[in-house]
């Protein structure tokens, strides 16, 4: 272990146990236990469900969380006194100007192949290759099913669909579930969740977190700004800045929840 390794904060929803290395990236290391994921993340990534914010990545093959300590390949480090509560403890309806401004920001900042196309058909032109056109068609099919009220079928159609470590469809559905959850539409959120068939562990982590009404600190900060009706461009940009397209896909799903009344 390199010197200077420090645990800065950890999420309160993390369960004790031994977790094994799943995947590692330049800013995060993911560890799994059954179908649960815990991530060691660098400070820029944000506090979030299942996240332990650390001063540097560990390179550990397995971590054990037990009795206020985290063991990295057997070496103990005391968990920080600072913990993060991932729960969103207020209700919020996304409509009117709140919705319009967020939608405009999404269309401005989302990567070309994100699911932001659902709010502006012109973005469909980015899906130019035959394979991408077929992908777009499958995504639109899922969206149409959701719009028609066929929630579970729509979720099943989108689940596991798209590029990246967490497929776009999974990120979209996680955002959708959170949007439904924090606007009090728990039954609909549950129908979306039960429709998801993804086997991607990191997607499952996101979907489960949204189902509980959990989100990252940056997304929560964005929600606060929305609730207070304050200008929120900076917070919006922070909120979508995770993964490559994940943040934008999540936001697209979150905003789409307002279309499902």
């Amino acid at each position: 272990m390199k010197n200077g390794f420090k645990i800065i904060s950890f999420s309160r929803d993390i369960r004790p146990g031994v977790y094994f290395l799943h995947s590692s990236f330049s800013k995060a290391e993911n560890y799994f236990r059954g179908r649960n994921i815990v991530s060691l993340v660098l400070p820029g990534v944000s506090d979030g469900p299942g996240n332990i914010v650390v001063s540097r990545l560990s390179g550990a093959k397995e971590i054990k969380i037990s009795n206020g300590c985290i063991y990295l390949d057997g070496r103990p480090h005391k968990l920080s006194d600072k913990s993060y509560d991932p729960a969103v403890n207020f209700l919020l309806k996304i409509e009117g100007e709140k919705f319009d401004e967020s939608r405009r920001n999404l269309l401005k900042y989302a990567p070309p192949l994100s699911m932001a196309f659902i709010f502006d058909g012109r973005r469909e032109a980015f899906f130019s290759a035959p394979f991408l056109k077929n992908m777009l068609s499958a995504m639109k099919n899922g969206i149409n099913l959701l719009k028609k009220g066929k929630i579970s079928r729509g979720a099943a159609a989108l689940s596991g669909l798209g590029h990246g470590l967490t497929p776009s469809g999974d990120d979209f559905l996680a955002g959708l579930i959170l949007g439904l959850k924090i606007s009090g539409r728990n039954k609909k959120a549950e129908r979306v969740f039960t429709g998801c068939k993804t086997e991607n562990l990191i997607s499952i982590k996101g979907l489960k977190s949204s189902r509980k009404g959990f989100c990252t600190a940056k997304f929560k900060s964005f929600l606060f700004a929305l609730k207070l009706g304050k200008p929120h461009l900076k917070k919006f940009k922070d909120a979508v800045e995770f993964g490559s397209t994940s943040g934008s896909d999540f936001m697209a799903g979150f905003l789409f929840s307002s279309c499902l009344y």
């Binding site: 059954g34 035959p130 590029h163 470590l165 991607n200």
Partner: protein
């Protein structure tokens, strides 16, 4: 138009990286379409509808990266794939901890300091690979079975000459310097080494010891035939000799079926020469073997308890007290299970995935409930005519070749056992059903999800039935022993973390019926 594909297993890239690679490939002249994407079921549908699906991608899973290229000709497709590979290799964000090599020799040349090869291939190829590994000065664990006996002997003689261990063939379990290999559990590190041919026996022993608070320094599987005189216990003896100089090891346990005569003599002599305390369990051995530094145990639990005592400087009184207390703590539960029996419910059915567990259960139960029919009986008169048709008291080992031919081991694949649980539970005469659930690396990763519905239905179908599950594992295993036991109890299963106590409970419930 030709389509060429590559699947890379268990690697993860961010979406932007993959999109850029796809964009780059699509820009190559002659490429008409491509996909660079995780092979989820839904994505495979899109790949298929785009005419990019190949057999290789069909077989890929959610956690595999699929790259497909459709081009005007084979050459263009191949060069586009090579370009994609090159770009992937250059991505620092890639996460794959697995080093790869095409052969043992290549691995030895590419990665300095390799000293152990785990071989798990069709048995007819395993010996040649093992010879290659020994030539490269690697110890060998041969997971494969069906290696000819003469080849096993030649391998072991060569290994002994080079002071290298040949663990196997048919070696299911090892823990070497803390690294679990094959079917093995996540156990505490400690000062007890265990040696023997019994894979599940070593698993149960190491878990019991770890759960007691002890720990394992080395677990050395020897292969099932090592204790036969044809082989002469070469690996067992060699392992015992090596453990003499292993500073981490202060106590040694041997877990085995009774060795043949010459092998037994060689093992006892080597055990004696270690100068370290040795706990010897030769399951079914009637002769008294305790002498000098050798402490005989009669079952896996006693072996673990005695090893624990020796490793912690405790007196063997602890062994008796612990077993007594464990039995007392089960007495109320046994009483209430007995109370729900009716006149029809009188027989035991044991459905085991571990041969040592089945064998131990038979030996523990026969003095209490009488003869037990089996595919691995204690005497030929109790040999089941048809292993699928259980009669009276029956215990079967579903890990025997007759059940595993062409299908995964029952520690991984529960499908056959689930069928048998359902059919046996529906029979009124069945009073107790005894099963084992082995956790750890290599075993079924979702035992609860896989068994829950079957067990729930079994308990409902026959209210007089007692289902007892012996769980081999630790709380550190990926499947988590404690969680599994708690969840099994919730659905009415009597879940115990110990094969010995499970057999005891089964015997007490059936006794005097």
């Amino acid at each position: 138009m030709p389509v060429k594909t590559i699947v890379r297993k268990g690697v993860y890239f961010d979406s932007i990286s993959l999109m850029r690679i796809a964009e780059k490939i699509n820009s190559i002249s002659g490429v008409s379409d491509s996909a660079v994407i995780m092979a989820t079921k839904e994505n495979k549908n899109i790949i298929s509808s785009s005419g990019l699906l190949t057999e290789e991608i069909k077989k890929a899973s959610d956690n595999d990266l699929a790259i497909a290229v459709k081009a005007d000709d084979e050459k263009t497709a191949a060069s586009a794939l090579a370009e994609a590979e090159k770009m992937l290799a250059g991505k620092k964000e890639a996460a794959s901890s697995n080093l790869t090599a095409q052969s043992i020799s290549q691995a030895a040349e590419s990665y300095e300091g390799l000293n152990l090869a785990l071989i798990s291939v069709n048995g007819k190829y395993a010996a040649d690979l093992a010879f290659e590994a020994l030539e490269k000065n690697m110890n060998v664990m041969i997971f494969s079975d069906n290696v000819p006996l003469e080849k096993e002997l030649a391998l072991k003689k060569l290994g002994a000459r080079k002071n290298l261990l040949v663990m196997g063939p048919d070696c299911g379990t090892c823990i070497i310097n803390g690294a679990p290999l094959g079917f093995a559990n996540k156990v505490n590190s400690g000062n007890v080494a265990v040696v023997g041919p019994s894979g599940t026996g070593i698993q149960e022993f190491s878990c019991l010891l770890s759960n007691l608070g002890g720990g394992i320094s080395q677990a050395i599987g020897t292969g099932t035939r090592d204790v036969k005189d044809d082989i002469g216990a070469i690996t067992t003896v060699q392992a015992l000799e090596m453990l003499v100089s292993d500073a981490k090891t202060s106590v040694i346990a041997i877990i085995s079926k009774p060795p043949q005569k010459k092998s037994m003599a060689r093992i006892l002599s080597a055990a004696n020469k270690t100068g370290k305390p040795v706990v010897a369990l030769f399951l079914g051995e009637e002769k008294e073997l305790t002498a000098g530094n050798i402490h005989q145990a009669k079952n896996l639990y006693e072996a673990a308890l005695k090893s624990y005592c020796l490793s912690k400087g405790e007196s063997f009184n602890f062994v008796r007290e612990k077993i007594y207390n464990d039995k007392i703590s089960l007495s109320e539960r046994i009483k209430s299970e007995k109370a729900k029996k009716n006149k029809d419910s009188k027989y035991l059915r044991g459905l085991f995935s571990g041969g040592t567990f089945a064998s131990q259960a038979i030996r523990l139960l026969e003095p209490v409930i009488g003869g037990v029919y089996s595919n691995i009986p204690s005497s030929e008169k109790f040999k089941l005519k048809n292993s699928m048709k259980l009669e009276k008291h029956s215990i079967i080992d579903l890990g025997e070749d007759e059940f595993t031919f062409g299908r995964p081991h029952p520690m991984i694949d529960y499908s056959l056992r689930k069928k048998m649980i359902s059919s046996e539970a529906s029979k009124k005469e069945v009073s107790v059903m005894l099963i084992d659930i082995v956790l750890g690396y290599g075993s079924n990763m979702s035992p609860l999800a896989d068994l829950k519905e079957t067990l729930e239905k079994a308990v409902k179908a026959n209210p007089a039935l007692t289902v007892i599950a012996a769980v081999t594992g630790t709380d550190m295993d990926p499947q988590n022993r404690r969680y599994l036991i708690e969840e099994l109890e919730k659905i009415g299963v009597m879940a115990l973390d110990n094969n010995y106590m499970a057999a005891f409970a089964a015997g007490e419930i059936i006794r005097d019926k």
